[in-house]
Symmetry: C2
Subunit: 321 residues, 2 copies
């Protein structure tokens, strides 16, 4: 089968690509061609005869149309302007996260054999009253433009699927932690920073109070869940293609304690507590408590604890110091 990953050179896109290559296939057949599309892709990004890398602008309809002339069987759509950037640059967020995503759906509609599409949505579609737990039936009332744009595309993927134009699935991703590398423009970036930077002997800024709780999932689990979403049969999903992934509720305090157990006071002292009004205005509206039975019933997986999430990171990215 032919697989395309939009956003294929991003952190999650690369993990997903590698996992697909290791597995060799999905429930519907072996992966013969894997096309990775992103705005820039390092040389020798992934060396595998099945992989082709194409650089381009996801916002350019003709570029996306050109990619899809190969009539892929499966598309992962991870291309996005991240939350902080979409909040600061409204037009760019609308252009990429909404208009270009809608354009992708329209191009998919032209493909004769309807492609399966796995869309990286976000738990940032929720916002507001953080005291009530989110259940599968809770209405998304985003408190960010990023969350709004994701919620819009989820609705459209449901309708395009209902009409038989595509076979879509939207996964609402929790905050992904711990991300390796550098901080990015995601408003949740600090969740990774406060562990990653101290383990590297560097300072990190925590912009929210220590009692703040977040809803997180490890890169390992989310990669499993992306592939699982691609493997589920359409008949299992019924009329709703939206799945809120089963993250874990973790407080900043718990994360700092786990960091202390591993790196001692030296590590925790590297966290600088600097409240940031802009980040708080978004992050503190994300509900950290969920009761999402549907994802578990459908076989999506969850991390066990903050400790496990940090240990997985150390295992994968360590050793440190």
């Amino acid at each position: 089968m032919r697989v395309v990953i939009f956003g294929g050179a991003g952190f999650l896109g690369k993990r997903l690509a590698n996992e697909l290559l290791i597995k060799g296939g999905l429930s519907s057949g072996p992966v013969n061609e894997l096309l990775l599309f992103d705005k820039s892709i390092p040389e020798n990004f992934i060396t595998d005869s099945r992989v082709q890398c194409i650089e381009g602008d996801f916002g350019d309809e003709s570029v996306v149309r050109n990619i899809l002339t190969t009539s892929p069987d499966l598309i992962f759509h991870l291309a996005a302007v991240v939350s902080g950037e979409a909040e600061k640059n409204f037009d760019l967020g609308m252009q990429v996260n909404l208009n270009a995503s809608l354009s992708l759906l329209e191009i998919c509609r032209e493909i004769e054999l309807k492609p399966r599409l796995v869309f990286a949505s976000s738990c940032a579609v929720f916002g507001g009253d953080v005291s009530k737990p989110i259940v599968d039936e809770t209405a998304p009332i985003p408190r960010s433009s990023y969350g709004t744009q994701k919620a819009v595309i989820e609705l459209l993927i449901n309708d395009y699927s209902r009409r038989g134009f595509i076979d879509g699935r939207s996964l609402r991703l929790p905050t992904i932690a711990i991300r390796p590398g550098k901080p990015n423009e995601a408003t949740s970036s600090f969740v990774s920073s406060i562990i990653r930077e101290p383990l590297n002997g560097e300072t990190a800024i925590c912009p929210v109070p220590i009692e703040t709780e977040v809803w997180v999932q490890s890169p390992k689990s989310v990669t499993f869940n992306f592939i699982h979403a691609a493997n589920i049969d359409e008949s299992e999903l019924g009329g709703n293609r939206i799945i809120t992934l089963p993250g874990s509720t973790v407080s900043v305090n718990e994360m700092v304690e786990c960091l202390g157990e591993i790196g001692g006071e030296l590590a925790t002292s590297l966290i600088k507590w600097e409240p940031d009004e802009f980040l708080q205005s978004i992050v503190l509206t994300w509900p950290p408590h969920f009761n999402v039975a549907r994802a578990s019933q459908l076989g999506f997986i969850q991390d066990k604890s903050a400790g496990e999430i940090i240990n997985v990171y150390i295992e994968e990215e360590g050793p440190f110091k």
Copy 2:
């Protein structure tokens, strides 16, 4: 103040216009100019020196932009491709209900003094499991393209309002009954037909089983609610500009009984029971039970009963025979 009604020559648009003219103003001031925009407007539609009628295509951005050069203080957006038509003609529904509505928001964003915008959304944003009552927190999972397009614009109006580009309010309209005139392409058109046509001595087709329940509101109440929506202060709405109007749950059977009480067996015998698969595939996914406290708290009104709804119709449109 300057007021624009997109869809101003439609049944609700005209009622709203007349009501505004009778009232003479809103909480924020007198209505000095009332611009009615629609694709076609009869001659001498409303004769009032404050009224200007403009015909045009809501899907044409330049036309809408031209209308908004007057920098209106208040905009009612009732322009839409109705549910049945949007289901049959996907491209047209997307063009008008989604793209042109988004374009309207973008043009509003350019207006220096942010306009108040009242959007006619629909309870068709809900669908699926009709056994559970809809509450204010229930996620819209539309089972029609029309419902999807309305749900998308609601989300965008929330975000455009949050960002201060507009001061928006989205009203989720129940099925409006009883509409005078002719049946239209709305999938709910039969709800009016089964009362209106027999009262006129004509046959009507009921495409759903007699035990079917619907969530309805009278034209009189919905017109009140539109004006009420325009009068509410922004501060009362908080972060969520979406209001599910308080309709009434009425069964087809109840309506037929009320019709019988008024018109006797002669009237009820004019209803032909002809199941329609297409209409049922949409109408029977509309939940008829709601528990929407927020609208009542905000002062929106509800009809008392099926009898009242029919009697209001007879009062306004009769006498019959």
